[in-house]
């Protein structure tokens, strides 16, 4: 079981903590067993010649990704990033300063790949990759959620997330994988989603949801699965089918599609928006997951691909799908070209569900009773991957503007948290980047402090009682950490839950007698 720890007291103001060296030392998250490593093509356990393999892998990565080499070479230790990481601010461990975290990797890079480091290692802080260093990598690169807040403040634009991804890729190559990510990837690549929901379970869950919504609203909203020829294929995190509060967001998507009258479908083959291939730094695995979506889009003959409320899914979709899988533009291979011919380029490809709802609102196609959300004073948590790696609506800062526009269109009371904690400077929820697992609860809790502190301020000053997000990981992380800081765990909701509560649905055209007899039959 996860180790016990004291829940920190939330500070009134966020201050740079006094350093506590080694406070987050440890063994890191549970390691992946052979049964989860092998299917991904990684060694089942730490291999004998791990040092050589690790150094070779580093060499491969620095050549393959120029960015990694530039980031490793260009740091001048100016210190601008030191107090920007939520895990450092929350834990006080100096190794959680982004520069120090990077240096775990950089010092080994210097030792093996730079002239000075090969001949005068001590002068340039070059270090050998020994067992202790490898343990530190595993521990501290799993205390980074790859949220990229530090990179916003780096004058050179060094992206710790990429170094973190590279380190995890090296670790996997020598047989040290993280159980949480690799077990989940196994399910995603065989069953089609992170949870391992097989098609019958997914179908049953969706039917159940349809029944429930019809009972509640009197409107027959459908959640089509594998419907060939639908216009839109929705790719959403599987948590939307399974967890709370996520599923209320899924209800919202369905209502919006229904009001628009568009045909849409989910796919049982590609029933996952999340792509943990990014978290573990593996391009090949990320591509495998993305290709399932291409296959589903081709098989179902859809003309639009849309992404639900999932933070890193939108990063992968927006930034990488075009070359990974041909959704977007720029595909050169046969299937990518085929998909390009099939997609309707009058719409953004891929499109975010927020862009879609926003567009309908702009065009006056949806009507709302905003008073349905009058019991709420709402704030919005910008999810890291959406905020710092994507765009929405094709306008500068659209990824900040559109979600807020949607929220303000459906509720009357909206307040932003402090400016330095939102938008491009948003603090991570504390559970991103493959850290959303019970065995990392200590770092998740401590890493949530900066966000919780900003939330506490708007709760106190503005009466905020609702936190919204457009990321499955953020929602799950918040529902676990909120109560640790004296918040209501149910205050976190999907943006599309607010939409769902306020949207006015067209009632079906039936005469009163029919409606009454239907009601009687139901009861």
């Amino acid at each position: 079981m996860a180790k016990e720890f004291d829940i920190p007291v939330l500070p009134t103001y966020l201050e740079i903590p006094e350093l506590k060296e080694g406070i987050m030392d440890g063994e890191g998250p549970f390691k992946s067993a052979q049964e989860f490593q092998k299917p991904l093509g990684f060694p089942g356990e730490k291999i004998d010649n791990w040092q050589q393999v690790a150094i070779d892998k580093m060499g491969e990565l620095k050549s393959k990704y120029r960015s990694v080499q530039v980031f490793l070479d260009s740091c001048v230790k100016c210190g601008a990033c030191t107090d920007k990481c939520h895990y450092f601010l929350g834990s006080s461990d100096p190794k959680n300063m982004p520069v120090a975290r990077q240096d775990l990797f950089r010092s080994v890079y210097r030792r093996h790949f730079t002239f000075a480091g090969k001949y005068f290692p001590k002068l340039v802080g070059a270090k050998e990759l020994d067992d202790d260093m490898l343990d530190d990598w595993y521990n501290y690169f799993h205390q980074c959620s790859q949220c990229r807040r530090c990179s916003v403040f780096c004058p050179y634009g060094i992206d710790t997330a990429e170094i973190s991804m590279a380190a995890r890729e090296v670790l996997d190559a020598v047989g040290i994988g993280q159980k949480y990510c690799n077990q989940i990837l196994g399910k995603a690549l065989t069953i089609g989603n992170n949870l391992g929901l097989p098609e019958p379970a997914l179908r049953d869950t969706l039917l159940d949801l349809e029944e429930e919504i019809e009972e509640e609203t009197g409107v027959a909203i459908k959640y089509p699965l594998d419907q060939k020829g639908a216009e839109i294929l929705l790719i959403t995190p599987s948590a939307d089918f399974f967890a709370e509060p996520h599923i209320d967001g899924l209800i919202g998507y369905g209502k919006v599609f229904h009001q628009d009258g568009v045909s849409w479908t989910l796919s049982s083959y590609a029933s996952e928006g999340a792509n943990f291939g990014m978290f573990i730094g593996s391009y090949d695995i990320m591509r495998k997951a993305a290709l399932r979506i291409r296959k589903a889009a081709l098989d179902l003959e859809v003309s639009r691909v849309m992404v639900g409320e999932c933070g890193h899914a939108w990063r992968v979709a927006y930034s990488f799908w075009n070359t990974l899988s041909g959704v977007g533009a720029g595909a050169t291979d046969e299937f990518g070209q085929k998909l390009q011919d099939q997609l309707d380029h009058r719409y953004p490809q891929p499109q975010h569900i927020i862009e879609y709802t926003h567009d309908l609102i702009q065009r006056g196609k949806l009507t709302f009773d905003k008073s349905a959300n009058d019991d709420r004073t709402v704030t919005f948590h910008d999810s890291c991957n959406v905020a710092r790696a994507t765009n929405m609506g094709g306008i500068p800062g659209g990824q900040f503007i559109l979600p807020r526009d949607v929220i303000k269109a459906v509720c009357n009371n909206y307040v932003d948290m402090e400016r330095s904690t939102i938008k491009e400077s948003t603090f991570c929820c504390g559970g991103g980047g493959g850290l959303l697992t019970d065995d990392l609860m200590e770092i998740r809790t401590k890493g949530a402090i900066p966000r919780m502190q900003a939330l506490k301020a708007v709760e106190r000053d503005n009466g905020v009682n609702t936190l919204t997000a457009i990321c499955a990981i953020c929602k799950s992380q918040f529902s676990k950490v909120l109560p640790k800081f004296d918040f209501d765990p149910y205050m976190i909701v999907s943006v599309h839950q607010l939409v769902s509560e306020a949207i006015i649905m067209d009632k079906p055209q039936t005469d009163t007698d029919d409606a009454t007899s239907a009601e009687t039959a139901e009861t």
Binding site: M1, F30, K179, Y180, Q183, I184, K187, N193, N194, L195, G196, L197, P198, P200, A201, D204, T205, D208, L209, E212, P237, S238, A239, F241, F242, A243, E244, H246, I247, A274, C310, L436, T437, D438, D439, A472, I473, S476
Partner: protein, 107 residues
């Protein structure tokens, strides 16, 4: 690897071989967690096992709460009630007692 009544469990206390499950194992796991298994607990555990047998996965929270509402009454069909039975969560603790694998994902 640790074991409970001779059945192998993983780092988080979940059965490694699902076929090893017995009522005694569930009772022992509950005892270790300071939970007294009541009829209501068993109702949930049995539902989880039946659902898993049919679908090879634990039910979604909503499916579970609806099923409980049908069996025990509407006032009990909510996650607050389920948390009162299983303080560490119906998904995680309930599944563990029922001998199901831990549901993992973005949840």
């Amino acid at each position: 690897m640790a074991d409970i009544l001779g059945a192998e469990v993983d780092e988080e206390g979940f059965l490694v071989n699902l076929g090893d499950w017995t009522k005694e194992i569930a009772e022992q796991m509950a005892k270790d967690d300071d939970v007294d298994l009541s009829d209501e607990h068993w109702d949930v555990i049995n539902f989880l096992r039946d659902y898993f047998e049919e679908y090879q996965i634990a039910p979604a929270v909503r499916v579970l709460t609806k099923a409980i509402a049908k069996r025990m009454g509407k006032d009990k069909g909510n996650s607050k009630y389920l948390y009162s039975l299983f303080p560490y969560g119906p998904g995680k603790q309930g599944c563990r007692f029922a001998g199901l694998p831990k549901p993992t994902g973005c949840i």
